[in-house]
């Protein structure tokens, strides 16, 4: 069974929320800035957040995807063909990687594998000695024969796989990611297991990402991981290494869902109420450089989707003008969506942070 999309991208629906300015207006509505919903920066010591060093080069290679998940913060989908990283921009990324000691390249999208330069870029990163992580939606592996050899390609290049699977139940997974996604994801996970991923003593790592299928916060990551491992092995014979519990960001299609379902205010309030100062130190924006499909630089993938570029002179906001020293001296751009990363145990692309 293939994937049947339940929703369309905001862009294809011509939704007002496809305009990042409109999203920021919602997040910064005047009525929101009161004691119950203070400005995020005011929650931080000295009202600012500084980077540590650049450990992770996260590159969003495009918005093209074979799925249209209901919560997608990228507003990715099959219709997003225009936003795909060019060979020239990839080469500019490789120049920066070659000139710096950034150790990890974190590739995301969309479905990164749909970018025609994807495999070449992975091989070039490996040639530079970088650790490569790929955020694979799983279903792409079984979507088309030309992708069937992806597990072998990933294994050959020792690519760490990070894949979304919001639940071990088909109902909860498909309600978020589209009908048939769960079954295709299980098939793909088995194929990854077959080439050595998540097997005992194997260097090939396969990590899953859990995010809530609705307007609630994730529970304890360790407990969720234990239950996912038990259920996926028991029901489907599937193995994985770690589960990352990630909070849904109130932006893009998840923001659309929150507004449409009248859950926006309660959800934002739950994020604010769950603000955890201990989560701030481990935030991913402090050690990540986020690059968009067209080469612009951001503090994180969420700021990227809100088009909040790094604080820097214009020429240094693009990968072609990357200046590591200046980058490490910048202040991180904050907004109200940042509450999503500091709620409870915190949230990052690597799961809970405290």
């Amino acid at each position: 069974m293939g994937v049947h999309q339940r929703s369309k991208s905001l862009a294809s629906r011509h939704s007002a929320l496809s305009d990042t300015f409109f999203q920021l207006n919602v997040l910064n509505g005047a009525e929101q800035h009161d004691d119950r919903f203070p400005v995020f920066a005011d929650k931080l010591p000295e009202g600012r957040l500084l980077p540590t060093r650049v450990d992770i080069f996260q590159v969003n290679v495009g918005k093209l995807c074979n799925q249209t998940c209901a919560h997608c913060h990228v507003d990715a989908g099959p219709d997003r063909k225009a936003e795909n990283m060019s060979r020239e921009t990839f080469e500019q990324c490789l120049e920066v990687l070659a000139a710096t000691d950034i150790h990890t390249v974190d590739i995301t999208g969309g479905a990164p594998e749909m970018n025609p330069h994807f495999r070449w870029f992975v091989e070039e990163c490996r040639r530079l000695g970088k650790h490569v992580m790929n955020r694979c939606n799983l279903t792409i592996i079984v979507a088309n024969p030309k992708y069937h050899d992806l597990p072998a390609f990933f294994a050959k290049n020792n690519v760490e796989i990070v894949s979304s699977l919001p639940h071990y139940s088909a109902l909860r997974t498909d309600s978020q990611r589209g009908d048939g996604v769960f079954d295709d994801s299980i098939k793909a996970l088995r194929l990854l297991n077959e080439v050595g991923y998540a097997q005992e003593n194997s260097p090939l790592k396969l990590n899953l990402v859990y995010n809530p299928s609705g307007a609630f916060l994730p529970g304890n990551q360790e407990a969720l991981e234990a239950e996912f491992k038990r259920q996926l092995l028991r029901k489907h014979g599937v193995l994985f290494n770690n589960l990352y519990a990630i909070t849904n960001m109130p932006i893009s299609r998840f923001l659309d869902y929150l507004l449409e379902s009248d859950n926006y205010h309660d959800y934002m309030q739950s994020l604010v109420d769950a603000f955890n100062p201990a989560a701030v130190q481990g935030l991913m924006c402090r050690n990540t450089l986020s690059v968009s499909w067209d080469g612009y630089l951001y503090d994180c993938d969420f700021n990227q989707m809100l088009d909040l570029k790094i604080e820097a002179p214009r020429e240094q906001q693009h990968i072609s003008g990357f200046n590591q020293l200046a980058f490490q001296q910048r202040q991180i751009v904050l907004n109200q969506h940042c509450y999503g990363c500091t709620a409870g145990a915190g949230s990052s692309c690597g799961g809970q942070v405290s």
Partner: protein
């Protein structure tokens, strides 16, 4: 008090306010309550499922909302939540039906 109904979902958010009129007892209750729901011999997910089942038995709409959310947060799915409610319903039904043994005894005692 202009409300014309007994249950308002917004009142759930005021649960913590019960300490306004009897703080020492409320503090003890919330401390104990928090301890009960911590992971122990049972996981937090299992405790949330038990709470959901009990919430249906005591027919508390606040508790049903709270523990439907709680179960989702702890990673339970719809099937598990409905099975928990079925367990509660089975005990309720069984506890009614088991009384029928008394009825049967009585009927037999007064019959030829």
């Amino acid at each position: 008090m202009s409300k014309k109904h007994y249950f308002d979902p917004e009142d759930l958010k005021k649960f913590g306010n019960i300490g306004e009129w009897q703080k020492p007892m409320a503090d003890k209750f919330f401390s104990w309550y928090g301890e009960v729901f911590k992971e122990g011999a049972l996981t937090e997910r299992e405790k949330a499922l038990i709470a959901l089942a009990v919430a249906h038995t005591v027919q508390c709409p606040y508790c049903i909302d709270a523990y439907a959310s709680g179960c989702l947060e702890k990673g339970a799915d719809e099937e598990q939540m409905m099975e928990a409610v079925q367990v509660a319903a089975a005990i309720r039904a069984g506890s009614t039906l088991v009384y029928s043994t008394q009825m049967m005894n009585h009927v037999k005692n007064m019959s030829l």
